[in-house]
Amino acid sequence: MTTTSPEIPSHHVDETGVNKSITIHGWKITTTSTSISNASELDSLQRELDLTLPEMTFGHNSVVLSHEASGWTYTFDTKGALKQVCNKELGPGDGGVKVGHAEAWASTRTVPNSLTPVSEMTVAKPYDWTYTTMYAGHASTSTPQWLPADPEDSSQSIPMATLTKPDPILYYAATQLFEDELHDNGASMYIIRVRVMPTCFFLLGRFSLRVDHVLFRQHDTRLFHDFSSNMLIRETAGWEAPYETIRARLPNPDDRTRLTDTQWVASIFNELPTRITQNKRSGGGTGWRGLTRRVETILLGRDTQEM
């Protein structure tokens, strides 16, 4: 449909099969949301990434933001998100964790019919089984570059006032890149939502992790663009909190279902002070490098020559 009115700019929304796109103000935003990958697709992705893939790997899902004048595109896809998952022995800053009962488990086990403790048994190829990723999307070209935003300049931060205005939403889409239930020890997932209003677009890509009886972790990427400017603003931030800290916020302690609701968990992260949630020593106590907040901007040219 094409709409023109003084407030609503000309735009075109197209929904064909698994793709939903909008063309507006020289941008095309396309969201793909479809089934998990099949066995042969998983095999080839697994070989390429050298990583045991999440149980639900939505290999075809993506959000692509394409700036028609410059030819620049910015993509969120499953391969990109999983490329940033550690696929070897975890080191300092990787924020590695074990399941809640790991110690108890290892101490009680011996290799059958022998006295060898289980710790001497082969451990499967190490990788980050929590699928922690700080993926913030990736651009089609290395230029233009993201530059640190000027904290003094309010035009270089995401304008919450604009985003809380009940402007009409011309386009809304959500998609999921992966999810893993960590063998019922919690959940790990990456979900992207995008909305387009008459004057701007806004995207939120969120990695959420729950490891039962251990911790909660979250990493958000927010992208904002005001159609009247040539600037794109990107804010990335990570949080962590001990499992019990979030659990103590449950309205009914016997009903833990809310802990599986990543939006509810995000709202609790929002309420907790950052000296807990973004502190490498407190928080989950893992020393994860993602516990920071950063705002960057990128300037887009009118065509590729200008870059």
Binding site: S35, A39, V99, V118, I191, D255
Partner: protein, 311 residues
């Protein structure tokens, strides 16, 4: 019996809930049946084997539509009846009634979700409270779960379990001596049987990078079958897009019976029909049409698809 089971089954097939006192009685009676079963139940083909259902009630009814209703078809369910889907109560009530009505034609194996700890997080507990206003129904069912068997052997040739093998178990006789009448422990052979996964890149057992639990490889499968004079291992527990997978040179199969898992994976599902001569046919199916009008819209994750002014 003071209640009419056939009537209960009829009600449940129409997705009508049974009253709390009735569920209590049904669970008590079912426990008596399950208590007499060995940790390894021996049955004969023909039988139709069903993998994870996870409260996807309409897809369970779809299974009966394509595989035949009880008692015309014998069924072996490999566990994970509850959690994640929207209708765990309806699903487990129906399966329990069928087990009680046809104890020799319906077999229910315990999955890792047939546990108090897991169901408190993954939905069954909350659903019981929502539908009955108290946790009683959840208590009746989870008490009954402690009595479910751990494994089934078909025609002395096919070993069936929810998850997989355990490094503590070489011979099937070792399963028979496990004390199973309890909550699923964190460790030990009982935990392994409901939790472990195959890894076709490996030969032996390996510890998962999570720090607990095992994966088992090709030599483990070969040796287990040899020692126990069997030809095949049949298990569920792992989602696959195709609804089934066959690995280790046709020595192990995974059956997955929850189509469009969690109402968003878009995967196929299957049931495995095993004929009198142990010939196997994966009957692949898709999500039941009823899910369209009564389901995913209410699912929690679907809330992300709802237009909202997220920040």
């Amino acid at each position: 019996m003071p209640f009419d089971l056939d009537h209960c089954i009829e009600q449940l097939l129409h997705k009508r809930l049974l009253g709390e006192p009735l569920i209590r009685e049904i669970c008590e009676k079912t426990k008596e049946v399950l208590m007499r079963e060995s940790n390894v139940v021996h049955i004969q083909a023909p039988v139709t084997v069903v993998g994870d259902i996870h409260g996807q009630f309409y897809d369970l009814v779809e299974i009966f539509r394509i595989g035949g209703y009880c008692p015309n078809t014998n069924y072996l369910f490999l566990g994970d009846y509850v959690d994640r889907g929207l209708f765990s109560v309806e699903t487990i009530t129906l399966l329990t009634c069928l087990k009680l009505r046809y104890p020799d034609r319906v077999q229910l194996i315990r999955g890792n979700h047939e546990s108090r700890a897991v169901t408190q997080t993954y939905g069954f507990y909350t659903e019981c409270i929502r539908k009955y206003g108290s946790p009683n129904v959840w208590i009746y069912f989870t008490d009954m779960f402690d009595f479910l068997t751990l494994s089934v052997v078909i025609d002395d040739r096919i070993f069936c379990v929810h998850g997989g093998l355990s490094p503590s178990i070489h011979s099937i006789d070792q399963i028979k001596v496990v004390d199973r009448f309890r909550e699923i422990p964190h460790e030990g052979p009982m935990a392994d049987l409901v939790w472990s996964d195959p890894d076709s890149d490996k030969e032996d057992f390996a510890i998962s990078p999570r720090g607990a639990g095992y994966t088992f490889g090709s030599q483990v499968v070969r040796k287990f079958l040899e020692i126990n004079h069997m030809s095949h291992i049949l298990r569920a527990h792992q989602l696959c897009m195709e609804g089934f997978s066959v690995s280790f040179d046709n020595r192990l199969s995974t059956v997955w019976s929850a189509p469009n898992y969690c109402y968003r994976c878009g995967n196929s599902a299957s049931i495995l029909e095993i004929g009198p001569g142990q010939e196997m046919h994966f009957n692949v199916f898709e999500a039941a049409p009823e899910n369209e009008r009564d389901g995913p819209q209410q699912a929690q994750q679907a809330s992300m698809m709802k237009i909202e002014y997220f920040l």
